[in-house]
């Protein structure tokens, strides 16, 4: 659905260089701290910015050449952009109806009602949660094959975040061949949603892994200096010096469980794995 090869985008003080692939029927997460390059990556996929190198293919087409028909099949949430805040839902329904062939106004309005979104209120008077829900509803309102969602849960409380994530799960159940690429700096959002995940840091992809592998095979090892010195380091991805000794990231949890039963092996949350991936030294 999306293929990015050696993408290069340079700004004065920031460069993005990455490759990634999103297959139909999958939800791909992009995780990284603020300023890591997630939004730049999404804008490049959408052809909103020019690129300095590499190529981006979206549904078999160069992303800079996406036309009207292609965009009918793409639903988008951008973190800090949407319809003019002076408009109401009542205003945007006829606009969407005129723009998208597959937009179902009645269904959209029912969804708005279900989520408690007022029709006559200007978007600027919506709460953060309401704005986020509206953005996601718009993105999934026209039977898109590809959803590109940049921080759709940003600034939301737990309940609102769950409600947005549920909307996406339901969408994928109804559209088995669709694909979603979703970014978040809240990794727990993506833990139960994504099939695979890319960790982006400083403009580079520092990790790509299937979510179940990441949660099952990756682990954080904690040990003192003597244990570290005696340890087989072949399967250590990252090492971080701590007060107590060392904290290491591995993608071969079982190997260490079997051979080093004396060290502490923690499954680790996605956040912890990410932290050590970003802050640790090469193993």
């Amino acid at each position: 659905m999306v293929k990015i090869k050696d993408l290069q985008k340079n700004y004065n003080k920031f460069s993005l260089s990455c490759s990634l692939e999103i297959a139909p029927g999958t939800i791909t997460g992009v995780i990284g701290p603020n300023g890591a390059g997630k939004s730049t990556l999404f804008k490049a996929i959408l052809g909103l910015i020019s690129i300095d190198g590499g190529c981006i293919e979206v549904m078999g087409k160069d992303s800079s050449k996406l036309d009207k028909a292609d965009k009918q099949n793409i639903g988008v949430v951008l973190s800090e952009a949407g319809f003019s805040k002076y408009l109401t839902i009542k205003d945007i329904v006829p606009v969407l109806e005129a723009l998208y062939d597959e937009f179902d106004g009645e269904k959209f309005q029912k969804s708005c009602e279900r989520l408690g979104l007022p029709f006559d209120k200007k978007i600027q008077d919506f709460s953060t949660g309401m704005k986020a829900k509206l953005k996601v509803l718009v993105a999934i309102s026209h039977e898109a094959k590809l959803l590109i969602l940049d921080e759709p849960t940003s600034g939301l409380d737990v309940a609102a975040r769950q409600s947005v994530l549920d909307m996406l799960r339901e969408y994928m159940e109804r559209h088995e061949d669709a694909a979603i690429i979703i970014s978040s700096h809240i990794s727990t959002d993506l833990e139960n949603l994504c099939d695979d995940v890319y960790l982006i840091y400083g403009g580079e992809i520092v990790l790509h892994e299937e979510m179940n592998v990441l949660l099952d095979e990756y682990a954080i090892l904690k040990m003192d200096e003597v244990q570290y010195a005696a340890m087989e380091k072949q399967y250590l991805l990252k090492v971080k010096k701590e007060k107590f000794g060392f904290q290491c990231l591995t993608n071969q949890k079982r190997f260490y469980q079997e051979n080093y039963p004396e060290i502490v092996i923690e499954k680790g949350t996605l956040d912890e794995l990410i932290m050590i991936m970003m802050k640790g030294e090469e193993g």
């Binding site: 965009k71 009918q72 951008l78 800090e80 969407l96 005129a98 723009l99």
Partner: protein, 217 residues
């Protein structure tokens, strides 16, 4: 295109209060014996400013980034702005002229018609300059650049007047030009004005398309 027109119309309706103020001031000018031509020019110009203002709404809060993910091309976006602004100005201009013609009971011929067309051509020219400026620089900067251009033209005019004596004598060419226009029937001049307006708008449209194609959002 239809979706974009609907969006802009809805945004324009957000400014219905400003529209009412324009109508109120126009009415006031008429009652106090203002010149009909001036009232038409004022009201059409203000409507045109309001319509151009929809670009400000589009670009606010990173709006372009989201807008350009919707199913239309950047060229269509530009085309819609030209269609919407030209249509709004022409409709307001035509309605006002028809209204005044009906109220005054006099036909719109000769000098009156020429004056009306001159007003429309001037507004089209203003739009043709303002649209690419707004798309390129955004509303605030565009206004500054627009007034700088007007100021620049005035300064050049004044300078030209000052150093006119030093320049080669063009009086014969000016006389010829003057004679040419005098020889034309009013309809001829109106025709030339309209054709020139369309040409300027087309050139402006081409420039705007280039600006938007290269815009990083």
């Amino acid at each position: 295109m239809k979706g974009l027109l609907l969006k802009d119309f809805r945004i324009l309706m957000q400014q219905s209060r400003t529209l009412l103020i324009i109508v109120f001031i126009g009415g006031f000018l008429l009652i106090t014996g203002g010149n009909l031509g001036f009232v038409v020019a004022y009201m059409t110009m203000m409507t045109s400013f309001l319509v151009l203002g929809t670009i400000t709404y589009d670009e606010a809060d990173n709006g372009y980034a989201f807008l350009f993910t919707l199913p239309f091309t950047r060229k269509e976006y530009v085309l819609e702005k030209y269609v919407f602004s030209t249509a709004a100005s022409v409709i307001v201009w035509a309605l006002l002229n028809l209204l005044f013609a009906a109220v005054s009971g006099s036909g719109y011929e000769g000098e009156n018609m020429l004056e009306a067309v001159c007003i429309l051509a001037a507004i089209m020219l203003m739009q043709a300059v303002m649209l690419p400026l707004q798309l390129k620089y955004g509303a605030e900067k565009a206004r500054v650049v627009f007034f700088l251009i007007i100021g620049g033209i005035v300064v050049i005019g004044v300078l030209f007047g000052q150093i006119g004596g030093l320049l080669p004598d063009f009086s014969r060419e000016f006389q010829a030009l003057n004679a040419f226009f005098t020889s034309l029937a009013v309809t001829g001049i109106i025709g030339i004005l309209l054709v020139a307006s369309v040409a300027v708008i087309l050139i402006s449209f081409g420039i705007s398309c280039k600006i938007m194609e290269n815009k990083q959002v």
